[in-house]
C-alpha cells in the first residue's frame, strides 16, 4: 500500500534539499577529518551511511524509508559498525603489544628520543616573545656557561648584561631579554608540553626540553624507512622489520610497540580446536540453556499464579500491587540486595534457615545452590513482567469460550488445563521465546550475583559453574588478566553471536509453524 502519491510541493522539496544538503556538508567535514587522521574504516562506514541518507531523502522511490532514516543511520553506526569491527578484530592479533594501527605505532616509535654520548644537557629557563608566538630558552651547561637558544639558529654563548641580554640573577639567569619576557614557573609549566615539542638551536645539534630541570641535545631514536618497510635504530643502526605486527631485528629482538596485523582464522582454530575447551564449554552451554529455560518457565508460572489464582480473591488489588514491587527496582540494586541478603555469614537469611532447618545452604560456593539462587533472583526480577503480560493475554480470550466450557461441565482445573492454558501459550509463545533469548545472554544476574563462580575444576582457563557463555567470555577478555587478547575475545564473541542468531532464526521458523497450524 504505497500510497505516497501525493504531490510534494516544490518549495518544501527545496527546503528538504537544503536541509539534507546541510547535513551532508556536515557529514563530509566529519568524514574528511576522519580520513585525514587515518581512521579509514570509520570514515568509510560514515561515508556509506551518508550516501544512504542522501539517497533516501532525495529519491522519491525510497520515500517509505525516510520514516526509518535516522534510526537506520544510528543503527548502522552504533550496531552494525561495532559488529563488523568485532569481526575484523577477530582475525587480527589485537592485544597486548598490538594495540595501534601501523602508522600510529610508527609515529609513536619515531617520537622516542635518546641522548647521544656526545650530547650535552642543560638547565633551562623559558622566555616568551612580546606577541606570545615564539620562545627562547636560556640554557646553562654543566660548566655554568649560559647560552641563548632560538629555534633554527645555532646556540649563542652570551654573558648576561651584554647586547639584548639583561643582567643575571644569582643563578646566572638573565632577568630580562629584549623583546621577550622571562616566564615564571607557574607560566612555564602549563606550556611545557608545547615547549618540549620545539627544537631549539640549529639542526642537527638541536636541544629539546626533556623535563622541568633539563633540556638536552636529544635525537630521535627510531626512523621509519618506507622504502624497505623497516624501523632503523639511529643509535645502534639495528634494522627492525615487521613480523606479524612486531618490528623484529635479525637476531630476533623485538620493539615493544607493535601494531594490529591480520592473522587469519588462527583465533577460531585455537578456540575450536582446543580439546580442553570442548567438554567444559559443552557443560556450560547446557547450563546456559537450563538457566534461560528455568528463568522463563518459573517466571511464567509465578506470573500465571498471580493472574489466575488470585482472580476471585477479596483484596486482590492490594496483593497484586505488592507483588509488582520488584519490577521498578533497578536491576543492579536488586541483585546487590539479594547478594547481601543471602550472604552465609552476614545476611539475615542464613540465621532464619538455620533455626528452621538446622543448616543453611551455601548460596555462593555450592554448585547446585548457586544455580538455584541465580534462577531464583532472576525469577524475582522478571515475574512481574510475566504477570502483566499474562493478565493482558487472558483478557483477550473471548468469554464465550469459557461459557462453552462451563456448559460442557468442565471443572475449574479442567477449564484451566483444557481451555485457558493452551490458548494462553499460543498467544504468549513469541514473548516466551523472546524472553528465552534475552535470558540466554542475561549477563547482569550471573555476573553481579556471583561472577560466574564457583569455579569448575581442571579447566584450562578459569571457568565457573554458574557462568553462562557471555559472562565467561567477559571475564576471559576483560577481567581475568591484565594482558588482554582482544583478538581471541572477539573471535569468541563472533561465535557466540552466530549461536544466538541461529537460535533466533530457528525460533522464528518454530513460531511460524505454530501460527500456520493455528
Amino acid at each position: 500500500m504505497n500510497k505516497i502519491a501525493i504531490v510534494i510541493p516544490t518549495r518544501s522539496y527545496l527546503i528538504n534539499l537544503a536541509i539534507v544538503g546541510a547535513i551532508l556538508i556536515g557529514a563530509m567535514w566529519l568524514i574528511t577529518s576522519l580520513f585525514a587522521q587515518g581512521l579509514v574504516p570509520l570514515g568509510s562506514a560514515l561515508s556509506a551511511i551518508t550516501v544512504f541518507i542522501a539517497l533516501i531523502y532525495l529519491r522519491r522511490k525510497f520515500t517509505p524509508l525516510r520514516w526509518l532514516g535516522i534510526g537506520l543511520a544510528l543503527a548502522m553506526l552504533f550496531t552494525l559498525y561495532p559488529l563488523f569491527y568485532t569481526l575484523y578484530i577477530s582475525v587480527t592479533n589485537m592485544g597486548s603489544g598490538h594495540l595501534m594501527a601501523k602508522q600510529q605505532a610508527i609515529n609513536r616509535l619515531e617520537s622516542e628520543l635518546y641522548l647521544p654520548e656526545s650530547g650535552a644537557t642543560y638547565s633551562w629557563t623559558a622566555f616568551q616573545s612580546a606577541d606570545g608566538a615564539s620562545y627562547v630558552l636560556w640554557l646553562i651547561d654543566a660548566d655554568g656557561t649560559g647560552y641563548l637558544a632560538r629555534p633554527g639558529s645555532p646556540l649563542e654563548a652570551v654573558t648576561p648584561g651584554t647586547g639584548i641580554v639583561g643582567a643575571a640573577d644569582e643563578n646566572n639567569i638573565p632577568l630580562t631579554l629584549e623583546g621577550y619576557e622571562r616566564l615564571p614557573l607557574n607560566r612555564t609549566v602549563p606550556i611545557i608540553t608545547q615547549l618540549s615539542a620545539i627544537d631549539f638551536g640549529e639542526a642537527p645539534n638541536t636541544v629539546r626540553v626533556s623535563s622541568l630541570r633539563e633540556a638536552a641535545a636529544l635525537q630521535p631514536k627510531y626512523r621509519y624507512d618506507a622504502a624497505q618497510d623497516a624501523i632503523i635504530d639511529q643509535e645502534t643502526g639495528e634494522i627492525y622489520r615487521p613480523v606479524e605486527g612486531t618490528f623484529t631485528s635479525e637476531s630476533g629482538e623485538e620493539l615493544p610497540i607493535g601494531y594490529i596485523d591480520y592473522i587469519g582464522a588462527r583465533h577460531f582454530q585455537n578456540f575450536l580446536g582446543n580439546e580442553g575447551f570442548r567438554e567444559p564449554l559443552l557443560a556450560m552451554l547446557m547450563w546456559n540453556i537450563t538457566f534461560a529455560f528455568c528463568s522463563v518457565f518459573f517466571s511464567f508460572c509465578v506470573g500465571l499464579i498471580v493472574t489466575i489464582l488470585f482472580e476471585n480473591l477479596p483484596g486482590k488489588r492490594v496483593i497484586r500491587a505488592l507483588l509488582i514491587i520488584p519490577w521498578p527496582i533497578p536491576v543492579l540494586i536488586s541483585i546487590l540486595i539479594w547478594r547481601s541478603m543471602l550472604n552465609p555469614d552476614l545476611g539475615f537469611v542464613a540465621p532464619i534457615l538455620e533455626s528452621i532447618f538446622g543448616s543453611s545452604p551455601d548460596w555462593f560456593s555450592n554448585v547446585g545452590w548457586t544455580r538455584l539462587a541465580v534462577v531464583m533472583v532472576n525469577v524475582w526480577l522478571s515475574y512481574p513482567y510475566f504477570y502483566v503480560i499474562t493478565a493482558g493475554a487472558i483478557r483477550s480470550i473471548p468469554g464465550e469460550i469459557y461459557d462453552a466450557a462451563l456448559v460442557d461441565g468442565a471443572s475449574g482445573w479442567g477449564k484451566f488445563y483444557h481451555v485457558t492454558l493452551p490458548l494462553l501459550l499460543r498467544i504468549m509463545m513469541p514473548l516466551l521465546i523472546a524472553s528465552f533469548t534475552f535470558n540466554f545472554n542475561n549477563f547482569n544476574v550471573i555476573y553481579i550475583f556471583n561472577f560466574g563462580l564457583p569455579p569448575m575444576p581442571n579447566t584450562i582457563v578459569p571457568m565457573g559453574y554458574s557462568d553462562i557463555l557471555i559472562s565467561f567470555v567477559y571475564r576471559l577478555a576483560f577481567v581475568t588478566s591484565n594482558v588482554t587478547n582482544y583478538g581471541l575475545a572477539a573471535a569468541i564473541t563472533v561465535l557466540l553471536f552466530l549461536l544466538v542468531a541461529g537460535l533466533v532464526i530457528i525460533q522464528l521458523r518454530f513460531t511460524k509453524a505454530l501460527k500456520e497450524t493455528a
Partner: protein, 302 residues
C-alpha cells in the same frame, strides 16, 4: 482489566451463596500462598530500606530491623565531597530522559512505517532487527570503545566519557525490539482510519501525526517507560565509557561504592540504592496502567 472483571463479576453474581467450608479452606490456602509470594517480593525491598536506616557501619547477621534507625547514611551519602551523588543522580535522569525522547520519536516513526508501508527489503529489515537485537554488545565493548575514541578525536562531544555518546548508544540499543512492539500495536489499529484520512487529502505525515499517533499513546508510554528504566539502570556500558567522577551515573557510582574498600559503608550504599530506586517507582506507578495496555496489546497481536 475490564473484560476479565465483567466476566468474573457476572459469574460471581449468578453464583452468590453463603461461603461454604470448602471455599473457606480454599481462601485460606490462597491467602497463605499470597502471603508467601508477597514476602518473597517485598522482603528484599524492605531489607534494603532497613539497612539504609541502620547506623551500624557493617552488616551483622540476624538483625532485620535496626535497633536505632537514623538517617546518618543518607547524610553521609549526600555530604560526601568526593562522591557527588546528587550530580550522578542528575546525570542519570538527564541521560535516561533524553534517551527516552529520542527512542520514542524514532521508534514510533519506524514502527508506523513498518506496519503501514510495503517496500522492498521490509521483511529482511525486520529479520535483521530481530537478529541484531541478540548481538552481545557487552562483548563488543572493544569495538565500541575504539569507535567512540576515534569519533572523539574529531567531534569531542561524542567521544569517550561523554553523555551524548552514551545517549546515542542507548537509543540505538533500545530501538530494535521496541520498533517491533510499536509495529505490532499499529497493526492492531484499523487501517481504514488512515485510508479515510488520506482520501480526505491529508499527507502521510498529517495522518500519522493527527490520526494514528494519538491512538498509539499506550504503546508510546510503554516504550518510554521501558526505555527509561533500561537507560537508567544500565551500568555495564556506562562503566566502560564514563570515567570522570562528575560524569558518572548513579548506577556506575553505586558500583564504585561497592568495590572492596567501600564494603564497610554498606549503609551508605543501601541509602544510595534506595534513593536511586525512587525516580523509577515515581514514574512507574502513575503509568503502570498504560504499560500493561501497551505490552499486552503487542503480545496479544503476536
Amino acid at each position: 482489566m475490564d473484560a476479565v472483571q465483567n466476566h468474573s463479576t457476572s459469574r460471581a453474581v449468578s453464583m452468590r451463596k453463603p461461603i461454604s467450608p470448602r471455599k473457606l479452606v480454599r481462601y485460606f490456602l490462597l491467602y497463605l500462598l499470597a502471603v508467601a509470594l508477597i514476602l518473597f517480593a517485598v522482603i528484599p525491598a524492605l531489607w534494603v530500606v532497613s539497612a539504609s536506616l541502620n547506623p551500624a557501619k557493617s552488616l551483622i547477621g540476624g538483625t532485620f530491623f535496626p535497633a536505632e534507625p537514623s538517617f546518618v547514611n543518607y547524610e553521609e551519602l549526600l555530604s560526601s565531597e568526593f562522591f557527588p551523588y546528587a550530580k550522578w543522580f542528575v546525570n542519570s535522569l538527564k541521560i535516561a530522559s533524553i534517551t527516552t525522547v529520542i527512542t520514542v520519536f524514532l521508534t514510533s516513526l519506524a514502527g508506523y512505517a513498518l506496519s503501514r508501508f510495503r517496500f522492498q527489503g521490509r521483511r529482511v529489515l525486520m529479520l535483521a532487527i530481530l537478529v541484531l537485537n541478540v548481538f552481545p554488545s557487552i562483548l563488543a565493548m572493544v569495538a565500541i570503545f575504539s569507535m567512540l575514541q576515534q569519533l572523539g578525536t574529531v567531534i569531542e562531544w561524542i567521544g569517550l566519557d561523554t553523555h551524548a555518546a552514551l545517549i546515542l548508544l542507548y537509543s540505538t540499543g533500545s530501538m530494535g525490539i521496541n520498533v517491533l512492539l510499536v509495529k505490532a500495536y499499529v497493526d492492531s489499529i484499523p487501517v481504514e482510519l488512515d485510508e479515510s484520512a488520506l482520501v480526505d487529502g491529508a499527507t502521510p505525515w498529517q495522518t500519522f501525526r493527527h490520526i494514528v499517533f494519538p491512538i498509539m499513546t499506550p504503546i508510546v508510554i510503554t516504550i518510554g517507560v521501558l526505555t527509561f528504566i533500561a537507560a537508567y539502570g544500565d551500568f555495564v556500558i556506562a562503566r566502560v565509557l564514563l570515567k570522570s567522577s562528575e560524569n558518572l551515573t548513579v548506577m556506575v557510582g553505586l558500583q564504585l561504592f561497592q568495590t572492596d574498600r567501600f564494603d564497610q559503608d554498606f549503609g551508605v550504599i543501601t541509602a544510595g540504592a534506595v534513593l536511586a530506586a525512587i525516580p523509577i517507582i515515581l514514574i512507574y506507578i502513575p503509568l503502570q496502567k498504560y504499560v500493561i495496555d501497551g505490552l499486552t496489546a503487542g503480545s496479544v497481536k503476536g
